[in-house]
C-alpha cells in the first residue's frame, strides 16, 4: 500500500519505487489472465461462506494471488489469510443452503 502514499504527494525521488510496485502488481494479473477486481469480489464471496462457520476477524482478512513464475512454469496461488476468533457463535443451520 506504500504506493498510495508516495503517489499524489509529488515527493521527488520516489517514483521509481512506485513504478516498480505498480508494474509488479499489474503483471501478476496480466500473467494469470485475471481481472484485478476479481480479488475483491472473491473476498466478499469467501467471507459470506466463512461467516457461516467461523467467527471471522473481518478487518484482518487478506486475499491475494502470489506471483507465478513463467520460467519455472509455476502456477500462481490464491493466498488467503483469515484470522478467526473461533467457531461461529450460533451454530449454522444445516438446512440452509
Amino acid at each position: 500500500m506504500g504506493w498510495l502514499f508516495g503517489h499524489g504527494g509529488g515527493r521527488p525521488g520516489r517514483s521509481a519505487e512506485v513504478a516498480s510496485e505498480r508494474l509488479q502488481l499489474v503483471l501478476k494479473y496480466d500473467r494469470a489472465r485475471l481481472p484485478p477486481g476479481l480479488v475483491d469480489v472473491l473476498k466478499d464471496e469467501l467471507l459470506n461462506v466463512l461467516r457461516r462457520y467461523l467467527d471471522v476477524v473481518e478487518e484482518g482478512i487478506e486475499v491475494s494471488f502470489s506471483a507465478g513464475d513463467r520460467r519455472l512454469e509455476a502456477p500462481m496461488a490464491l493466498v488467503a489469510n483469515v484470522p478467526v476468533r473461533g467457531p461461529r457463535r450460533a451454530a449454522p443451520s444445516p438446512a440452509r443452503r
Binding site: 521527488p12 525521488g13 521509481a16 519505487e17 513504478a19 505498480r22 508494474l23 500473467r31 513463467r70 520460467r71
Partner: protein
C-alpha cells in the same frame, strides 16, 4: 550456412524498435557481416527514413510477395556501409497484405544470402506482429524503463514463447542515469528481475538519436554518441563477444571520479 533471422519487437510503440533495428543493421554491417533489414510495419513505413534511404525506394516487401518484382530488385543497398540492404515496407497497403507463411518464405530466402536478417516488427500484437515474427528464430525485445512499456514487453515475451522463440534478449532503451540515481526511474535491475530474460543492451537516452534521425544518418556511424556506442555494443554481443555493460557510466569528470574511486577501493580490498 543460413543466416540468423532476428525480430526486433516490443509490444508498445514508440520505444525505439526502428532506431534499434536500423542501428544494429549498420553496426553489424560495419563489422563485416552481410545484413538485410526488413521493415515489417506494412502501411507505416519508417525504417527507410531512419536509415535515410527513403528516396531510393522503387519496390517494397508486398511487391516481392505478390510477385510484382524479384526479391533482389526490391533490396536497397546502403551506399555508406558495405553489405547492408533494406527491404522496405509497403506504404499504401495494410497488414493483411502479408501472411505469416509468406513472411516465413521471404525471410528464409533472405537467410540464404545474408548473415543477419533483422525484422523491424510493428507495434501491437495483432496480425502485423504475427507476420513479423513468423520467419524469425531469435528475438530482441526493446523496452524503456516505464510501466507501460515493460508491461507490454512482458506480454510479448509470452507470445514469443508460444511461437517457440525462447530466450529473447532485452534492450533497455532511453535510460536516464541521473533520474535513476534520484530514484525517479526504474533501474535496469528492476526491469530485468520483472521480465526475467537476458540483457543484451542498455542504451542511454541521447539527443544525438533525434539529430541523427533528423538527418537520416544512423547514430552508430557517429563516434561521439553514447547511444551509438551502446548500440554498437549490442551488435558485438550478438556476435558473441563478451562486452561489459558500462553504458550507464556517464561521461564527465564526476563520473570519471566516481569510477576511479570505486576502482581504487576495489583494487585496495583485493590486495588486502
Amino acid at each position: 550456412m543460413a543466416g540468423r533471422a532476428i525480430v526486433v519487437t516490443s509490444g508498445k510503440g514508440g520505444v525505439g524498435k526502428t532506431t534499434a533495428t536500423a542501428n544494429l543493421g549498420v553496426a553489424l554491417a560495419q563489422m563485416g557481416r552481410r545484413v538485410a533489414v526488413v521493415d515489417a510495419d506494412i502501411g507505416l513505413r519508417n525504417l527507410d527514413v531512419v536509415l535515410g534511404l527513403e528516396n531510393r525506394i522503387v519496390y517494397d516487401l508486398v511487391d516481392v510477395i505478390e510477385g510484382t518484382c524479384k526479391l533482389r530488385a526490391a533490396l536497397i543497398r546502403d551506399k555508406r556501409v558495405d553489405n547492408l540492404v533494406l527491404l522496405p515496407a509497403a506504404q499504401t497497403r495494410g497488414k493483411e497484405a502479408v501472411t505469416p507463411e509468406q513472411m516465413r518464405d521471404l525471410v528464409q530466402q533472405l537467410r540464404e544470402e545474408f548473415d543477419y536478417v533483422l525484422v523491424d516488427c510493428p507495434a501491437g500484437i495483432d496480425q502485423g506482429f504475427h507476420s513479423a515474427v513468423a520467419g524469425a528464430s531469435e528475438a530482441l525485445i526493446v523496452t524503456t524503463p516505464e510501466v507501460a512499456a515493460v508491461r507490454d514487453a512482458d506480454r510479448v515475451i509470452g507470445l514469443l514463447e508460444s511461437k517457440e522463440i525462447y530466450e529473447p534478449r532485452l534492450i533497455i532503451n532511453r535510460i536516464r542515469p541521473h533520474m535513476v540515481r534520484k530514484g525517479d526511474m526504474l533501474e535496469v535491475g528492476d526491469v530485468l528481475e520483472i521480465l526475467a530474460i537476458p540483457l543484451i543492451g542498455i542504451v542511454p537516452d541521447d539527443e544525438e538519436i533525434i539529430v541523427s534521425t533528423n538527418r537520416g544518418e544512423p547514430v552508430v556511424l557517429s563516434n561521439h554518441s553514447r547511444a551509438g556506442r551502446a548500440l554498437r555494443n549490442v551488435a558485438r554481443r550478438l556476435e558473441g563477444e563478451e562486452v561489459p555493460f558500462a553504458e550507464l557510466e556517464e561521461d564527465g569528470w564526476m563520473a570519471r571520479l566516481r569510477r576511479l574511486i570505486s576502482r581504487t577501493s576495489r583494487a585496495a580490498s583485493g590486495r588486502g
